[in-house]
Symmetry: D2
Subunit: 247 residues, 4 copies
């Protein structure tokens, strides 16, 4: 049994995560806790089971490669049901691992139509979480609403620095000495949403843009793997635009 608590004085909310073993039925625990707690308290019992994931990608392989290899060797602690890409670039790689790949192109159609097709491809799998593993399209609020607090993104910078496109070029031009990456839960603002975890990697004056991109890939895949582990172990609670991370 392990319990972690947090009082968010800013929002006057109390959060607790209790991990336990035993043979009580989930609904019994839920009833007993609900009876104990003040009215309005939200109780969620999460039995141990592998979460189901669908991964969205564009063309970059580094985060997907990391996730598929962990999955293949049974160390992701989740099931990757499918990979969906707006290009077919990563199809051959994905299929090596026996995972279905769906290409849903955004080209020549409206965003509404693109997202409708995306949703159709995804919904067939009924995933617990969508993982944006370098998926380079911006999702609309109505799409995000369908997976409220269930879309995890890896952002290629130390948010809130270098919001937007080409962060490594921006970083190179500014002459920074550290490159960062941020994993966050997607909400309706681009590059916003509650931050799960962040890491950095040092860079030097003789690192060009390409070196910074490579360093960024290292840190992006490490940050996404870390964040996903926290999510899959149900350690992340959302309070407003922040996360509570019960490690």
């Amino acid at each position: 049994m392990a319990m972690k608590e947090f009082v968010d004085t800013a929002t006057a909310q109390f959060f607790a995560r209790l991990e336990t073993t035993g043979n009580l039925l989930p609904h019994t625990i839920e009833e007993e806790l609900t009876a104990l707690l003040p009215p309005g308290a939200r109780v969620e019992i999460i039995p141990p089971r592998k979460k189901k994931l669908v991964i969205l990608v564009t063309k970059e392989y580094h985060c997907l490669g990391d996730l598929l290899v962990r999955h293949f060797f049974g160390e992701l602690h989740a099931d990757i049901l499918a990979v969906v890409g707006n290009y077919s670039t990563l199809a051959p790689f994905t299929e090596k691992f026996g995972i279905p790949f769906h290409e849903v192109s955004h080209q020549g159609i409206s965003r509404e139509e693109f997202e409708a097709r995306l949703l159709q491809a995804i919904k067939a799998y009924d995933p617990d979480y969508l993982v944006l593993a370098k998926f380079m399209r911006i999702l609309s609020p109505s799409f995000v609403e369908q997976y409220q607090e269930r879309i995890i993104n890896i952002h290629h910078s130390f948010l809130p620095a270098f919001v937007g496109a080409n962060p490594y070029k921006q970083a190179f031009e500014r002459g920074v000495k550290l490159i960062g990456a941020t994993a966050h839960i997607v909400n309706n603002d681009l590059d916003e949403g509650p931050i799960i975890t962040q890491q950095i990697i040092p860079v030097k004056h003789d690192d060009g843009v390409t070196d910074m991109v490579e360093a960024g890939h290292e840190i992006e895949k490490a940050v996404l793997a870390d964040a996903l582990k926290l999510v899959l172990e149900d350690r992340i609670f959302v309070s407003g635009n922040k996360t509570i991370v019960f490690t």
Copy 2:
């Protein structure tokens, strides 16, 4: 003998730092190198000597305390000639170490007048470098010009994130998981100027603004000490808005 080189292809400039021992006279080396090198090459011979510093402060003690203790025990590898503050808060502390403290208040006078008085206080010491150890006034271009590439500032954030006032409050509200600090050379843009070094320190969901400020102090003083060591060993070259760090 140790040599480091860098070709900045963006500006088509070549930089080299050569550290050597021996009994050649500096001006002989300079003449010989100048004869060897293409016309226009800048040669600077820096004999080993302790640099002279004047430190500017406002009210926060953490960076100043770190520098004065190192200085007292002979491990700063520089001479702190004076501390100048726009408040007298840190005078008693400074004077414990036998270092003169000058209060130059900014209150009730124009920026021009304030900077004129600052310069007067500083110039008496003919310092090699000014160290802004949490000096909370913005210096005008004409002041900065007097100490071109010789003013070192510690900025309370991982630039370019959280430019401006109250970065820890901004960081708290954004729910970041890392706090950074940046040491840079001051030029004419607030919070800009070539970055010397940057570091980060992790923060958690249960760290309030005060905790973040405390964490920030730790990292600020570490970053400033690092940057100053690099500067005092003549390892920092400036190329445009970037530094070359010959470690």
Copy 3:
């Protein structure tokens, strides 16, 4: 209110730390908790108060300097009552801050006699904790027993590597790329005892022994400050030869 728990399955022990505010009297809480908990459970109520520290030193200044500066500015969250040294080297520095310094030399007397004199100097202050801030004498089991789990040491290496004397020379000769430091609670084995926290700092092939010592000083003082903060906030529980760190 914040609560953290840990079940140590290796020793079948349950640990919990509860931080709360309110106007209940400590002994009331203690009685109520004791009644609730199984017999044999250890309950300790720690009202908020500044802990009293005595610092032991030899000749190195870096950790002491850090602690005295924090103390002077009211940010140590503890009272430093005295500094005791087996040399007088650090007396002038200590006295600048208005803290009494006691020299207790180990020279020309037996360890028993030395420790008896140390104890006499220390006991006058009735400290909560002894901080060994680079105190280079080994304390006997009978001394340690007097301050069971109340002596904090900073060890100049990433334990368990480089146990014993001259760790930086050992590190240099081995050609390591990282230097570490370890803060731990002192028990009866030299360089053993439950580890509170550890950190590292990178070193390079062109760092000599002196550079490694300097890098080590940076990390030693950072690690000791971190560990002490955890201890002073009553976040460290000891279970066998390990610590539980309720951050």
Copy 4:
């Protein structure tokens, strides 16, 4: 053009690495440099070409997975010609990537016989480097001699702590707060040899041995990838039992 130098005063040797572009023939440069330098100076001209690698494994997948994925996407900057394992565990995974896998079992034969078979399997590929990606057999001096300074190993600890078997269990039992990994060049002593790079990852009191193993895997694969990049870019020079790392 970029040049880095180092004078190893301990061994009175001078090392320099010069990276250049142009259309001079390698042997012309070599002749001219040899004429310029004192007799006995070793000059090596390395034209840009992809190095050839053979990877040795046992059963653990994490380092191999990382290398094969980078290779597949053309970002390893080397050619993996074959994987050789003393078990067949990783054959299916390797073959997904179109790389030949050779099982060379150590069971039921002498070490001499095992190493003779290993050499036979490896020599067919004439590799520049052997990468021990969690290869759990100790290689004899006579084997190592065949690939002098050309065998890269990832060691599962922050050497020189926890030498030998089961380092994570040792680390757990000691209650450390950091786990490390070390990439080094193999010489004739187990767990010795010049260190290329080291990194650490924090662990907590509630991490069991399994968690420490998982954390160790993360850091092992990061450290091996880093070290290999340095090796493949010809940035590592060996001086006695240390490396010079010209980054």
